[in-house]
């Protein structure tokens, strides 16, 4: 849509704003902003998505998911959980067996051209045309998605991914980390509003992984909605606004990361007692604690992901001193998204077993 800028800097111009045609402009823009905010709240809507492969494998089982504009959504799951199939179904690589996918208000089963022009995909595999130069590969991607050539834009993308010096190199000459960045550059060449990153940091060393995280944050700053799959929980914990946990083709849980941490997170503190205890005094027993290792250890488990656990542990230490119970050491840690994930996945396993 054409953008008409209204720049107001002087009192006269403010007055001029109220001239009928200006006022119409202002109202039109305001209305557009309002409707676009309402409409764009959900950028991708998946409902009842099922995929059964020719061999009979059910890779996706009645998946419902909606993605909000501007968020980073991490899809977390073990290998073979259906993450890549889910991405493939949205991006047109996998044909869904049933269910509907709506992106930007376009139904992907018939209005796919318009939707796909606004979606970018960075695949998990390092699949590139090895003999192509970086510059040509990225320019090709831009054209393929229907955009006119724009050297300045491609230069900007290559520079932001530290690929500018390599622009004339054939892709086969690049290192693995660089190849992955070429794939990202290709996916960004058509300025997608929704970007899928399938295991963006798989097989990437720690240094590069940090760089990748910075780049993903920078993309979000620009307003790109990002869906990433990962099995590095650290990644999801660091980057994501919301986390979805997928296993066996089913979405087990979708929640704000903070809410999930708060709801399911705990603090664990283990006190090594100087003298073994057989029972706890009342002032200590009111804490969520238990004696383990034949009374040689006092184990606290409580709180939530918001930090209330560590406050309680501090109170517990004072109570122990007051009760005259001595201890030689404290081992304290907060559960991570990883613990939550492992708990959740193993709990479901027990359920189904």
């Amino acid at each position: 849509m054409p953008s008409r800028k209204i720049i107001v800097s002087t009192p006269m111009e403010i007055l001029r704003c109220f001239s009928p045609e200006r006022l119409a402009d202002v109202l039109a823009i305001a209305a557009r902003c309002a409707t676009s905010r309402m409409m764009s709240d959900t950028i991708l809507e998946i409902s009842g998505l099922t995929k059964v492969y020719a061999g009979g494998t059910k890779a996706l089982d009645n998946v419902d998911l909606s993605i909000r504009k501007g968020e980073i959504f991490a899809l977390l799951g073990p290998n073979g959980a259906g993450k890549t199939t889910l991405i493939g179904a949205v991006c047109g690589i996998v044909r869904p067996s049933s269910g509907t996918i709506t992106a930007f208000g376009h139904d992907l089963s018939n209005d796919w051209r318009k939707a796909r022009a606004r979606i970018g995909l960075v695949p998990q595999e390092l699949s590139t045309d090895m003999f192509e130069t970086v510059w040509r590969a990225v320019s090709y991607s831009r054209g393929l998605f229907g955009h006119p050539p724009d050297k300045a834009r491609i230069e900007e993308i290559l520079r932001s991914l530290s690929l500018w010096e390599k622009k004339d190199s054939q892709i086969r000459e690049l290192s693995g980390g660089m190849k992955r960045r070429v794939l990202i550059a290709k996916a960004l060449a058509h300025e997608p509003e929704l970007l899928f990153l399938d295991e963006p940091t798989a097989g990437v060393d720690v240094e590069l992984r940090k760089g990748m995280w910075e780049q993903i944050s920078a993309l979000r700053e620009r307003g790109t909605t990002i869906i990433l799959t990962t099995h590095y929980i650290e990644e999801a914990e660091l980057m994501a606004d919301r986390v979805g946990i997928i296993r066996g083709g089913k979405i087990l849980m979708v929640d704000d990361k903070a809410a999930m941490m708060k709801r399911m997170g705990t603090t664990e503190a283990v006190f090594q007692l100087a003298e073994p205890l057989s029972e706890l005094p009342a002032s200590i027993a009111e804490f969520p604690v238990s004696l383990t290792d034949d009374g040689k250890e006092l184990c606290y488990r409580g709180g939530d992901g918001s930090g209330s656990g560590s406050e309680q542990v501090a109170a517990l230490t004072k109570a122990l001193i007051a009760a005259g119970i001595d201890y030689r050491g404290i081992d304290i840690h907060d559960s991570s998204l990883e613990d939550i994930f492992v708990d959740l996945v193993s709990a479901r396993e027990e359920e189904t077993a």
Binding site: R113, K114, F145
Partner: protein
């Protein structure tokens, strides 16, 4: 966006660039092969042959040799063009892009057909070094070459989607196309074949193609140009239909 013309153009450009990158293989090797045919059949053997249908033997074999190279090259070019992305996994980009069957075909097949035309020009240029010839209907010849190049690019495209190994990719051109072209009147007029063999030869569709091209060159042919033209157009339509079906069902493209 109803039709992504930039997408089609990007594919077309890239495929042509790919040919330039492998210019030695794409252009020089057919030139060399054709030159060898001219030296052996045109000059050495051809010098002892009677003219066929009033055309000197060296000139008579030009349309057939052209067809031989054209069919082989456009088929393999186009089949490689789509097979390689499937093999290396880069096809993900094409599948996720806003391009449909029309853009894909215009890109891949258009490029393969263009390469076919360039190749034909090079072969005809090479031929002038060995034999004297004149093309009776140059425009018809160009049109017919384009038509054949487009048809066999489509055929190659189907082949590249069907093949799931390099072996399968090479087997059709090697075991079917090349023998049929050799037996399709490249080096002789089908009517000169003895008895039953000439009838059998007419079961070979390539014979009609060679005959059609020969008509545009010399005005003489084994079968009417309209039969050849009709057959070529029919083949073009068939291949287009198959490809449209492949895209609709996603066969071998989308899981």
């Amino acid at each position: 966006m109803a039709f992504n013309i930039r997408g089609a153009w990007s594919i077309y450009q890239r495929e042509l660039m790919r040919a330039l990158r492998t210019a030695f293989q794409s252009i020089l090797s057919p030139v060399l092969t054709t030159s060898l045919y001219f030296v052996v059949f045109g000059t050495v053997i051809g010098g002892r042959m009677e003219p066929v249908d009033g055309v000197a033997y060296g000139a008579f074999i030009i349309p057939g040799l052209l067809m031989l190279t054209l069919l082989g090259e456009t088929t393999s070019n186009s089949s490689f063009g789509i097979y390689m992305p499937r093999f290396t996994g880069t096809i993900y980009e094409l599948l996720s892009a806003p391009v449909g069957v029309a853009e894909t075909l215009i890109g891949f097949v258009g490029a393969a057909a263009t390469k076919g035309l360039i190749l034909a020009a090079i072969i005809l240029g090479t031929a002038t070094l060995f034999v004297d010839y004149e093309i009776k209907y140059p425009l018809a010849a160009i049109g017919y070459i384009m038509l054949v190049a487009a048809s066999f690019s489509l055929f190659g495209f189907i082949l590249g989607i069907w093949a799931d190994s390099f072996e399968k990719l090479g087997i059709i051109p090697l075991l079917i196309l090349t023998p049929l072209t050799f037996l399709g009147g490249t080096f002789y007029s089908i009517d000169d074949l003895p008895g039953i063999w000439s009838t059998i030869a007419y079961a070979n569709p390539i014979a009609f193609l060679v005959s059609g091209l020969r008509w545009t060159f010399y005005g003489t042919s084994d079968v009417s140009i309209w039969v050849s033209l009709g057959l070529t157009l029919g083949f073009l339509a068939l291949c287009t239909g198959i490809i449209a079906f492949i895209f609709k069902t996603g066969w071998r493209l989308r899981e």
